[in-house]
Subunit: 149 residues, 4 copies
């Protein structure tokens, strides 16, 4: 089935983007905060709507380049598949999280300028299984940084 | 800012789609269940991944036509803006829900055939304010129907 | 590479949608006309922008259901990959056409109501090679019908 | 109507991205080449499919940042509205071009790393009318550079 649920998500990086290597392939899991703005015809001003937080996951070269390029507060666009993942909290409670499995991550040129550099990556060393559920638990406990507006 | 978070969501209608008229414009709020399938190279079979449930909201003519066209179990595609809405549960607890504000709702021709008919709609009568938070609370309490696979 | 060029195209069916069976799988090739509207703040009226025509291609069950469901003038949405195809005109001239390879085709509930019916399809009989280039040549010669506004 | 035809286009910058200032707002018009790859199960190798060229247009801050950030050969993603524009060639012949009116332009982190820097932009000075048709004519005459694979 090629009918995946594809989301294009615009926001600011809200947690640090660190490469996780204890898995078959290198990967990252981080959060992005999106605060849409709406134009109010009555007052002729823009006002912020509610912030949506999204967990973003990426693998391999995309993960390596994202970890090297992204800093908390950076404006980014992420395109990917919206998925639900089940995991268990430290208290043993079942949890469900929505995760955006990225096929594209990029700095938004609507918010600033970027300098690009090609990188030759070595093929990733295969080690063990995925650790997504541990990382989701960790993100939950973590004090999420407020991105720059 | 035209950089809305746009989601294309494929699934089956999971709750009844009833027109709600006690607001400025007619609207609907219903749930769609999406169960992606993944091909397992090892066993050469398809297997179901976890189901993602999405609350879908629409207004005006789109809401009127959706209410007249959709039945529980129908395969649909929805395109819209992904938004977060805050509301208060019956117990007075604060809640956050993710809502897909639809710009397109349609039956999926990958799953069956459709017959189309144009409809002339009268302009909606304006009455009072939106009742989204009441409807989100109602959907939560409601026993969600399992859509046909 | 999963980074396909994905287009969501809204318009009206502009040529008849007939199943073509002389190939490995049943398929369709038809044209859709899209005329966006823009709100003119000065005159407070909507005005039509230029029409974009798109060649849409689909295969297998999606093609079979589209052929059975769609009539010239129907409002549709098509999601797919934007591709360039080279072919040769009757005069022997090289041509390039942009084709939207559909993963989704559907009637737009923003324009009317639909009735949905599931259909059991027999697996398609494999016969010979694809005939896309012949069909593109045929579409070019054909007097394209103007879709209902 | 919010149902615009939205395209997500991945490719390499194929012409230089220069800011054009003789209009109401600063803008850019440049070409992007997209060459999708397909995995051939039989030979177990990737092969290039036909290249699709797209004219990309942007305005204001996005145009200013794109002109400052992009170099021929850079891997980019562009999201925008697909539009048809009519213009007249130097020989007086009527022409139609497909143009992608960008809402997002970004370097692709799947292909390398980026460094991001915020920029304070002065409001653009309004001068005269748009010069898109002249620029489309110019792009046609221009020897298009082959982007790095």
């Amino acid at each position: 089935m090629s009918n995946d649920n594809i989301l294009t998500f615009h926001g600011h990086v809200g947690t640090s983007v660190e490469l996780r290597e204890g898995a078959a392939v290198p990967w990252v899991l981080f959060r992005v905060a999106s605060t849409p703005r709406q134009y109010d015809q009555a007052t002729r001003t823009w006002r912020d709507l509610e912030t949506t937080w999204m967990s973003v996951k990426a693998w391999r070269v995309l993960a390596q380049n994202a970890a090297e390029s992204l800093t908390i507060g950076d404006p980014v666009v992420v395109i990917g598949k919206l998925r639900t993942e089940s995991w268990t909290s430290k208290d043993g409670e079942p949890r469900e999280s929505t995760v955006l499995e990225a096929t594209l991550i990029a700095h938004d040129l609507g918010r600033g300028v970027t300098t690009f550099r090609r990188v030759d990556r070595q093929p990733a060393v295969v080690t063990s299984s995925d650790g997504t559920v541990e990382a989701l638990a960790e993100l939950e406990g973590q004090q999420v940084q407020t991105p720059a507006a």
